[in-house]
């Protein structure tokens, strides 16, 4: 947990562009909800190679979003159930079911479908909201937060120093 906060603080306080951090958060959301061994996971891995995103934030938040997907699984399940059993969409799903990628992803499973749809729906809002939040933080809150005793204690801790060493900052 301390490492996670350390990573956050380090990234937020660094000169990394807000879009890179926001993209890392949004991609972590996709991985957290859909898993690494999936077509979405493969796409995210390719994007991680090609796009300049903050890997530390991505890795840390992947775990967080995985936990969040478990918490939200009843909601995802409900969403998937309503989509897959919708009479008006049956023909659409049946045609998709004939494709290999749909069956490979087991998207006929209510939870998997719910997770996919929910993560895609939340992808852009997460990106823009994270971007706005980071910009806001850096402009108006960073100096104020850094003055907190708890933050100073954390920055002085062994973990934070170790993290900075590892990240070369």
């Amino acid at each position: 947990m301390i490492t996670l906060i350390a990573k956050f603080l380090s990234a937020l306080n660094s000169e990394t562009r807000p879009s890179q951090i926001a993209m890392a958060i949004a991609l972590a959301l996709l991985i957290g909800f859909n898993g690494v061994v999936s077509l979405i996971g493969l796409l995210v891995i390719i994007l991680l190679f090609v796009l300049r995103v903050n890997l530390s934030i991505f890795l840390a938040l992947s775990a967080v979003f995985t936990v969040l997907s478990f918490v939200l699984s009843p909601l995802s399940n409900m969403l998937g159930e309503s989509l897959l059993t919708s009479a008006s969409l049956t023909e659409f799903w049946t045609s998709l079911y004939q494709t290999y990628w749909f069956r490979l992803e087991t998207l006929n499973n209510t939870l998997n479908m719910g997770n996919l749809v929910l993560s895609i729906l939340l992808f852009l809002p997460t990106y823009f909201f994270s971007h706005w939040l980071i910009v806001k933080y850096r402009h108006s809150m960073m100096d104020y937060v850094n003055k907190f005793k708890v933050v100073q204690t954390l920055k002085a801790s062994k973990f934070y120093r170790m993290y900075l060493t590892v990240n070369g900052q």
Binding site: I46, L51, R52, N77, T94, Y100, L104, T110
Partner: protein, 620 residues
């Protein structure tokens, strides 16, 4: 500050990352493409060595990407029973796979080709053995030896030993009935009146007869005595009647047992005649003797193949059940089933093509479509065919085609037909037993047949042999007779029917050869059968006589009992109710007469006295 500006100006895209990605993907693909072949070769080779137990050699294994597939070149599998030859070998086998279906867990082989599959070929160097040689047991010889033995005329002892004799059963039954009835009769005889009782009745009877009745009191006393005697006699008579009833029942049971025993030898003889060709030696089928080995061999092979395939079919069922169980354990999410236009079983070979070179050098093409063990998934039967590839331009042909279906309950059904034309059969050994060796030196074979399997086998095959030449040697009169007849045969038909389960099929083999041979046999064998008939009947008669003799003493005793009972009954007749009533009546009449006479005498005397008084004055 300049460095910071430079960092901030870095764009969203990372070209170096794309390069690394390309390197990783390319490297992995190259390693897979060049390394997969040798790795697969090693795995395949060691798996076959473990499974079969002898050295396996593969020249090379190659993968192809479009369409994705595998190619195995030059495979040789050493025969563990003979290390200097290969169990099988082929030049090349190729299989193209559907990768997407493979990722979905289903092995869909679009096309499987095996080129020049050959069995039992010589190896250039002897192979190595990896496991101890398996012990092969032969359990199908008994049927064949039964065929061979069927030509021998059995002895009377063999016949009687094989037959479940009714005579013996009925003899035992008579003994049991006799023991039981003897006990019943002896039990009832305990109530038979003794000689003393009869003497006592005689004495009482004499006393009653001699008794003098002087008065009514005497008569009443006599009546009481007779009443007592009547009651005693009645009780004993009843006992005798009961004994006689028991005797009659026992006699009836014994008579039934005796009559059944006497009829048993005839029944035994009738049964023996039904089971054995005593009356008609032509029932001996020589075709069974000659072709039984061959057919039994095919059935044994078919059973082996079935036993090999059965675990795969059953394993599939078990796997399905396991999958279902795992699915039930999932607590999150629900699989919604949508109609799949193209369904596939867990494994399937869409198109199969094998070129086989048989040990006799003939080439066959084995073709198959939709080969799998879950036919119900696509509701399509699997098709197979075997055709002789005629390379030398002869008129020889062989065609076999069929189909099979495996339903949801893993029940296997199959049907098919075959046809054979102008196949040369040269130097075929038909019999190699001690009594006779027979070889078909030359013949031309035509034939056709059908087969079907649904719970049990149902197949009929017709073979026609033309231009036949046979030769052989025999060491008995019967064998020489057979050879003499067979060597004169130029053509014959063979009808084979195999029905029932593979493990215990009912095989019927008939041929017009049988008719040709049986007329010759009949003459030779009928004399022996006649003698056997007399001997067996005599043996059965002896068994009956022995059983009857053993019970004759008892029978005499039983007959004497009847005389004894008749005598007792006769004795009681003397003391019948009529006789006793008559005795009372006689005594009563005697008494009445006596009293009457006495009364008359008294009246006379009184009248005389009165008259004396009246005629006193007249001087009388």
């Amino acid at each position: 500050m300049t460095e910071q500006t430079t960092k901030k100006q870095l764009g969203m895209f990372r070209l170096s990352g794309a390069g690394v990605l390309a390197l990783v993907v390319g490297g992995t693909a190259a390693a897979g493409y060049f390394g997969a072949g040798p790795i697969t070769k090693s795995i395949l080779s060691s798996s076959l060595e473990k499974a079969i137990g002898a050295e396996n050699n593969i020249e090379s294994v190659q993968y192809q990407l479009q369409p994705f597939g595998i190619k195995i070149n030059g495979l040789q599998q050493t025969d563990p029973d003979n290390l200097s030859q290969n169990l099988f070998e082929f030049k090349q086998a190729s299989a193209s796979l559907n990768v997407w279906e493979l990722m979905l867990g289903q092995v869909l082989i679009e096309e499987l080709k095996v080129d020049s599959l050959t069995f039992n070929t010589e190896r250039t160097t002897a192979g190595e053995l990896y496991v101890p040689e398996a012990v092969h047991t032969e359990d199908s010889t008994s049927t064949i030896s039964d065929f061979k033995n069927s030509i021998k005329v059995p002895s009377k002892d063999e016949l009687l030993a094989k037959a479940d004799l009714i005579t013996e059963k009925k003899a035992k039954q008579l003994q049991t009935v006799w023991t039981s009835e003897k006990e019943n009769v002896e039990q009832s005889l305990k109530n038979l009146p003794s000689k003393d009782s009869l003497k006592k009745y005689e004495t009482q009877w004499q006393a009653i007869q001699n008794s003098e009745i002087k008065s009514l009191e005497d008569l009443e006393a006599l009546k009481a005595k007779i009443k007592q005697l009547k009651a005693d006699i009645s009780k004993d008579k009843e006992a005798v009647a009961q004994i006689k009833s028991q005797y009659k029942t026992s006699k009836s049971n014994l008579d039934t047992a005796y009559s059944e025993l006497k009829a048993a030898p005839a029944q035994d003889w009738s049964n023996i005649k039904e089971q054995l060709p005593i009356d008609d030696p032509s029932a001996l089928a020589i075709s069974k003797l000659l072709f039984g080995d061959e057919i039994t061999g095919y059935i044994t092979k078919a059973e082996e193949i079935y036993k090999t395939l059965k675990p795969f079919i059953d394993a599939n069922r078990e796997a399905k059940e396991q999958d279902k169980l795992s699915a039930d354990l999932l607590t999150q999410g629900r699989d919604i089933d949508f109609t799949l236009v193209e369904k596939w079983p867990s494994w399937m070979v869409k198109s199969l093509l094998i070129d086989v070179i048989a040990p006799d050098g003939k080439a066959y093409r084995v073709e198959g479509n939709e080969i799998n063990v879950e036919s119900y998934v696509r509701n399509k039967p699997s098709l197979y065919s075997v055709n002789l590839v005629n390379m030398d331009g002869s008129e020889e042909s062989f065609e076999l085609s069929g189909q099979y279906f495996v339903d949801k309950a893993s029940e296997f059904t199959s049907k098919g037909k075959w046809q054979l034309k102008n196949m040369a059969v040269d130097g075929k050994s038909l019999s190699k037993n001690k009594q006779m060796s027979l070889t078909m030196d030359q013949s031309l074979l035509n034939g056709d047949g059908t087969f079907a399997w649904q719970d049990k086998l149902e197949s009929n095959h017709k073979l026609k042999f033309k231009n036949v030449k046979m030769s052989g040697e025999g060491d008995s009169q019967l064998a020489n007779l057979t050879l003499d007849t067979l060597t004169k045969v130029s053509s014959f038909n063979l009808d084979i029917g195999v029905k029932g389960s593979l493990s215990s099929p009912s095989v019927s083999i008939s041929s017009d050869l049988d008719n040709q041979l049986n007329s010759a046999f009949k003459e030779q064998v009928s004399e022996r059968w006649d003698a056997l008939q007399v001997e067996t009947k005599q043996a059965l008669k002896d068994k009956l006589t022995a059983s009857l003799n053993s019970n004759s003493g008892n029978l005499e005793k039983f007959e004497s009992l009847k005389a004894k009972l008749d005598n007792a009954e006769e004795e009681f007749k003397k003391y019948g109710k009529e006789q006793l009533d008559k005795l009372i009546s006689d005594k009563k009449e005697a008494l009445e007469k006596k009293l009457k006479d006495k009364a008359e005498q008294e009246l006379k005397d009184k009248l005389k006295d009165k008259l004396k008084g009246k005629f006193k004055g007249f001087g009388i």
